[in-house]
């Protein structure tokens, strides 16, 4: 550990690792965007990163345009180490993209590395300086890692829907958009709706979702209010056991329900779904709403009671108007078309609802469960 806590050593290690992280990311991006046989060339990148790390440590911070100079140096080192093929492909191939990638890899390495090493002296480090730079490295790595890991599947999902099967089989890495096709890009979507009757599934999903939400609310709002506000024996037990329902695996319930539905002919019917779905969402809705009701000031309601409203009137006229919004959370029933375009379409409404309500959802979750 002591060995590591020397400015040079830390700078060297961080330089090597960070340049490798950036190189891998840029190489993957370049490969997916152009379909070319890009390689990250870690054996060349890491020494370049090492040199930049040490230079960042020893050059005075006052040099004008230090970042630009070092980034240019990094790019040149890369050229030199990889025999003027910085990404393992000839410069003639996807030239513009390669220039962008080179800029990205150079600045992506130098910029963050500069921040990581900004407070490091060259000699022995104290714990603060050492851990500070490590944490900055981990933070940078974390942002890159999470973004890549989350974004790639969605990128692939969207891009696949714009490509043809043959093109992907030919080169599974080529996700570049063929803009010449114009509206032809959306062929899968058109086919989905025209040939596979996707619109019908979408409508069914929409109907089922809306009905489920409505039914869930109809059941859970009064229940949640009772658990949150009214005093009765068994209140605590109720508020706890609500979530127990959520712990029963659906597949265990599915078996008897399947048998029951088969014998009464409810199988394969939307009505049957609507009997089951709300019950599976009620516990969560009830739980979240209950937390929300608790968060509302009781005084307002008491004032209403004093003014001669009955309990139910209080709920209808005071509490519910204050609760608008939380309720719209659960809506993710899915069409079964096994196609990427279908996946994208299935995802879009949920994303839209979600992005619109994201703030609210985080707030609702916080209010519902986690109270410090």
């Amino acid at each position: 550990m002591k060995m590591l806590r020397i400015g040079y050593v830390t700078a060297t290690i961080l330089g090597i690792f960070w340049s490798a992280v950036v190189a891998i990311c840029v190489a993957i991006s370049l490969a997916l965007l152009t379909g070319a046989a890009v390689t990250p060339g870690l054996l060349a990148v890491m020494p370049a990163g090492l040199i930049i790390g040490i230079l960042l440590l020893i050059t005075p911070k006052t040099i004008p345009a230090r970042t630009y100079i070092l980034a240019a140096l990094f790019a040149m080192l890369l050229f030199a180490f990889r025999l003027s093929q910085p990404f393992g492909i000839t410069l003639g191939e996807a030239t513009i993209m390669q220039i962008f990638a080179l800029a990205a890899i150079s600045f992506g390495t130098v910029g963050p590395l500069k921040i990581m090493l900004s407070e490091l002296p060259a000699g022995t480090l104290n714990r603060h300086e050492f851990e500070g730079s490590i944490i900055k490295f981990l933070t940078g790595f974390g942002y890159v890692f999470f973004t890549v890991v989350v974004a790639i599947p969605f990128f692939v999902m969207i891009m696949t829907s714009f490509k043809s099967q043959q093109a992907l089989l030919l080169n599974p890495l080529d996700y570049s958009l063929d803009l010449d096709k114009g509206w032809g890009l959306f062929r899968s979507y058109v086919e989905l709706f025209r040939d596979f009757g996707f619109g019908k599934y979408l409508l069914t999903s929409f109907f089922v979702s809306v009905m489920t939400v409505l039914l869930t609310l109809l059941f859970s709002v009064p229940g949640a209010y009772a658990v949150a506000r009214l005093r009765f024996k068994g209140q605590a037990a109720m508020s706890r056991s609500i979530l127990l329902i959520y712990m029963v695996p659906m597949i265990v319930l599915a078996l008897p329900i399947y048998i029951a539905f088969s014998s009464v002919g409810l199988r394969n019917s939307i009505f049957g779904i609507l009997l089951i779905y709300p019950v599976t969402t009620i516990p969560v809705a009830l739980y979240m709403l209950q937390g929300y009701f608790r968060g509302l000031p009781a005084e307002v309601e008491e004032a209403g009671l004093m003014d001669g409203l009955s309990r139910l009137q209080v709920i209808w006229k005071i509490t519910l108007p204050l609760t608008r919004g939380v309720a719209m959370l659960n809506s993710s029933e899915i069409p079964r078309q096994h196609l990427m375009a279908g996946s994208v379409i299935a995802t879009i409404p949920i994303m839209l609802i979600f992005l619109g309500l994201e703030k609210f959802m985080t707030k609702g979750l916080t209010a519902g469960s986690v109270k410090g």
Partner: protein, 414 residues
């Protein structure tokens, strides 16, 4: 449903409040018992039954009516034929009866002795049908002018057949075979092992990754909201969409992941990520982590933001390094929510069915208990065996839930 029993010595107002409360909870309680508690009881019942998928088809008597011969003028004679069958080849039927209205203008000349005709109402009492029973009843009739004019189809008035059958589901035969076969099978223990691996590592992974993500986003900077939204994508996207994307991405022949790894020199030849034995289980666990880290991240972040920052400043003054601050300040503060999340996520991962089912279908050593229920009940068509596995799941969950309520409840008010 429980009855409202207000404690003794309470005032009328309190009583009224309790009554209202139970009234408001009643719809939830009733629906929950119908959809959750009843099936749970049923699964125990079914698990002791030697029942197959085919047994679900309830045997019923069936009839096909037709007129044999041609009626061209009033007074012509023809045959009114009833073809009777028992739909089941295994189960007998008892007390079979038929009820029908014969067409106008039809005079039955020779009535089957089991039937009575009252004006146009035909009633027959057939008694018992053996399994796979078939019979043709022919009744000659003469037609008058009304019949000739109308030229009716005898099937216009639907014959109503009724009969009793003993369903294996409801009769008194019980068996322990389902459980015997399950515990004796070598597969069962490997299924348990896979389930535990999947649940434990999936849960731990999602928690640790979620904690890391929460640490990253627990500071305000430009674009923090956007990143947070992005990191929640896997959690809110329909599972079928992401599962299918993963399967395409990791396809051994045309998947981008393999192509990328080979191109970068990591792999010499493509790996069958979801199709071969050790890695398939690891992949579904990684998928689980990928898909559910946002949930842990959301909860942990919410808790983090309620930690008093003054504490960190004080620690900073006292010379605690960043890692020390994390370890001695943040971790104890987060221990509560993390333990609750662990138990909750463990139970949910344990219950997870759709993810693995969509990714591998339970092949290549990824068959968890929940997938096993499906496999036994619907793929092997042995509902009893599936129910036995379901009972095992339920009992294990009961144990987890007890642990959950014992340790989880004091912590975060869950």
């Amino acid at each position: 449903m429980q009855k409202a029993t207000p404690p003794k010595g309470t005032g009328p107002l309190q009583k009224r409040e309790a009554k209202l409360a139970w009234g408001m909870l009643a719809p939830t309680i009733i629906s929950a018992s119908l959809v959750v508690i009843l099936p749970l009881l049923a699964i125990f019942w079914i698990s002791f039954k030697p029942i197959q998928l085919a047994d679900l088809r309830v045997p019923s008597p069936e009839v096909y009516e037709r007129i044999k011969g041609k009626i061209e003028a009033a007074g012509d004679e023809a045959i009114y034929e009833l073809r009777l069958t028992n739909s089941s080849r295994q189960e007998p039927l008892t007390d079979v009866t038929l009820q029908d209205v014969i067409p106008n203008g039809m005079t039955i000349l020779e009535l089957d002795q089991r039937c009575t005709l009252n004006d146009r109402d035909l009633r027959c009492v057939f008694g018992d049908f053996a399994a796979g029973y078939r019979e043709r009843i022919s009744m000659p009739f003469s037609a008058d002018q009304a019949f000739v004019d109308a030229d009716p189809n005898p099937r216009d008035s639907v014959a109503i057949m009724a009969g009793n059958s003993t369903s294996i589901l409801l009769d008194g035969t019980f068996t322990l075979k389902n459980f015997q076969r399950m515990f004796n099978g070598r597969e069962f223990w490997s299924v348990i092992g896979v389930t535990l691996f999947y649940s434990i590592f999936g849960t731990l992974g999602a928690l640790i990754v979620g904690l890391f993500a929460a640490l990253l986003l627990n500071k305000s900077f430009k674009g923090q909201g956007m990143l947070r939204g992005l990191y929640l994508f896997p959690y809110v996207t329909p599972v079928i969409a992401v599962a299918f994307t993963w399967v395409t991405l990791f396809d051994p022949f045309s998947g981008s992941a393999n192509a990328l790894l080979i191109q970068m020199g990591v792999l010499a030849e493509p790996i069958n990520f979801f199709g071969a034995k050790p890695q398939a289980l690891i992949m579904v666990t990684v998928f689980e982590i990928w898909r559910y880290f946002p949930m842990s991240f959301l909860f942990i972040l919410a808790r983090m933001q309620s930690i008093d920052t003054g504490m960190y400043e004080a620690a900073d003054m006292d010379g605690a390094s960043p890692f020390q601050q994390f370890w001695y300040l943040s971790v104890p503060q987060l221990a509560g929510i993390i333990s609750v999340l662990f138990l909750l996520r463990f139970i949910w991962t344990f219950n997870k069915f759709d993810d693995i089912f969509l990714l591998t279908g339970g092949s290549a050593g990824t068959r968890t208990l929940t997938v096993d229920v499906y496999e036994q009940a619907f793929a092997v068509s042995n509902i009893g065996a599936g129910a036995a596995v379901a009972v095992v799941i339920f009992i294990m969950l009961l144990v987890f839930s007890i642990v959950f309520f014992k340790y989880g409840s004091q912590e975060e008010g869950l």
